[in-house]
């Protein structure tokens, strides 16, 4: 799940300065769960923009705004409203915003900040456990990621800032290395903790990343 948060409305309004006709896009997946770009938030945005004197030419919510072909298709389906717009306000992650970029020549505006790849702990409570480093180390650390869950991303044990099993940066946050130690000890695999892990390869997938699946063979 890509976690996003809403930008302040004043900031959104500033982005739309000089554009009277706006088309609003929301996403039925992550942004709906994050309550940043679901049906309710898109309807709310439409009403607020209209109250500010904007003409909302269209407001749609569909699954996978980040799917570029899908977004282009949705734009074709809403041709009239799309053509009437001066600009597009996209209420989902940065991937979605840039999928809209591919579907129009006009200006495209983000309504959200994209913050992390998150787990849903319970409804409305998201936590970052993976930072997409491209070189998974979960096998070594009892399926607890120090790259993400240790503030400094340390691979070889806790820093001096661990306090009663909490992180020095935030007493509400667990020290990843206390979690890892406890987990490995429970499993009788502390030897993994004793192993020295050398400098990490940060370039396994060079930015900007791209993965293309191999074409399946005939009948495959």
């Amino acid at each position: 799940m890509i976690i996003s948060t809403s930008k302040p409305f004043e900031e959104v309004l500033k982005e739309l300065e000089g554009e009277d006709n706006v088309f609003v896009v929301g996403c039925g997946l992550c942004a709906t769960t994050c309550e940043t770009g679901g049906e309710e938030q898109v309807a709310g945005m439409k009403a607020k923009l209209e109250a500010e004197g904007k003409n909302v030419t269209g407001a749609i919510v569909y699954d996978e705004v980040c799917h570029e072909l899908n977004t282009k298709r949705k734009f074709r389906e809403n041709k009239e409203a799309v053509e009437a717009a001066d600009g597009f306000l996209v209420m989902c992650c940065g991937a979605g915003v840039q999928a809209v970029r591919e579907a129009t020549e006009k200006d495209v505006h983000p309504a959200c900040d994209t913050v992390f790849l998150g787990n849903i702990q319970r409804y409305g409570d998201f936590i970052q456990k993976c930072s997409l480093c491209g070189d998974c180390v979960l096998e070594e650390f009892g399926a607890i990621c120090p790259v993400t869950r240790c503030h400094k991303g340390i691979l070889n044990g806790p820093c001096g800032g661990t306090d009663e099993g909490k992180c020095e940066t935030d007493k509400e946050k667990d020290c990843a290395w206390t979690l890892i130690y406890n987990q490995l000890e429970k499993m009788g695999k502390l030897d993994r903790f004793r192993t020295i892990y050398g400098p990490k390869n940060w370039q396994t997938i060079m930015k900007p990343g791209r993965v293309v699946l191999e074409k399946k063979g005939e009948g495959g």
Partner: protein
């Protein structure tokens, strides 16, 4: 041409330690700006009273005059620098380049730290690098001593440093900390300076654990000067890995206001004496944090003259 800083006017920390001499080091905190006169004053004051001086590296994530530049000033002044290197502000390439430079300018010991986290400092919006961390930094130096950088490339001229690291005796929980201590030794650490210790009984317990892991590695107790009851409260509540026991807190609180610094000096002098007399560890690292001017008094009160240790 031989520059003044190419001459070693003092024995290296390694030479002192390997002779079995009790090591006494101080610390220089560079200023935030170009007014370095006061810092130079501290260097002049301390250079002959201690075996060496640590130079902090953007301590507490606060941008300051660089540690490497200060280490060179200490050399110029005839002192012995112990260069602190953190991984917060530089990636492995920048650190390697700095180490090449440091080695060619006569810096012989390096203290390897991961570094404080960014949000605690004065540039809270900046990006923490943490490309590597303390254990990997020790490995990096060990590799450079073998003539290779972390890219696996041959160096035209290797480095050689006395490699130091940090350990936190008050860490909670302590077990992971002790495993990391062991890993640091395996990665090349030859000496340790501890995070601030106040509870000497706990320090003794820590030393027993540490000696069981390795009885040769050199360990110096880190001592931070207490200056006020407020500072004690702050440290107990806000500085992870630091615990000031009640009896010391009481000693400070009971002292009249004008006697508090004196009391802090007395406490540290007593701790230094205890470390030496009870042979608790291999040395002490004195952190006076802003009160470097009283270090001669501390040493005097502890009866420590490094020429007689």
């Amino acid at each position: 041409m031989t520059l003044l800083i190419d001459k070693h006017l003092k024995p290296s920390l390694q030479e002192v330690m390997e002779k079995g001499t009790f090591l006494v080091t101080g610390e220089i905190g560079p200023p935030k700006g170009t007014d370095i006169d006061e810092m130079i004053g501290h260097i002049d004051l301390l250079k002959d009273l201690v075996h060496g001086m640590n130079i902090t590296d953007n301590q507490s994530s606060v941008m300051r005059y660089p540690s490497l530049a200060t280490a060179l000033i200490i050399k110029e002044k005839g002192g012995e620098p112990n260069l602190q290197v953190t991984c917060r502000d530089r990636n492995r390439m920048a650190i390697e380049a700095d180490l090449l430079f440091a080695y060619t300018r006569g810096i012989r010991s390096v203290l390897c730290l991961t570094g404080d986290s960014i949000p605690v400092g004065d540039h809270p919006d900046s990006k923490g690098v943490f490309d590597i961390e303390s254990v990997q930094l020790l490995q990096l130096i060990s590799g450079m001593e073998e003539g290779k950088d972390t890219g696996g490339n041959e160096l035209e001229g290797a480095v050689e440093f006395y490699k130091g690291a940090i350990v936190t005796p008050e860490a909670d929980p302590i077990e992971p900390q002790m495993i990391k201590f062991e890993k640091k030794i395996e990665a090349g650490a030859q000496f340790f300076q501890t995070q601030a210790v106040y509870d000497m009984d706990n320090f003794k317990r820590f030393m027993e654990r540490a000696r069981k892991i390795d009885d040769k590695v050199k360990i110096c107790a880190g001592l931070v000067l207490l200056t006020s009851p407020g500072a004690i409260k702050y440290m107990n509540n806000n500085v992870p890995g630091v615990f000031i026991p009640e009896d010391l807190a009481k000693e400070m609180t009971d002292a009249p206001k004008e006697e508090r610094l004196k009391t802090g000096i007395r406490i540290m002098a007593r701790q230094i004496r205890q470390c030496i007399d009870e042979k608790l560890c291999d040395g002490v690292h004195i952190m006076a944090i802003g009160k470097e001017g009283v270090v001669p008094q501390i040493l005097d009160e502890a009866g420590v003259d490094i020429t007689k240790l």
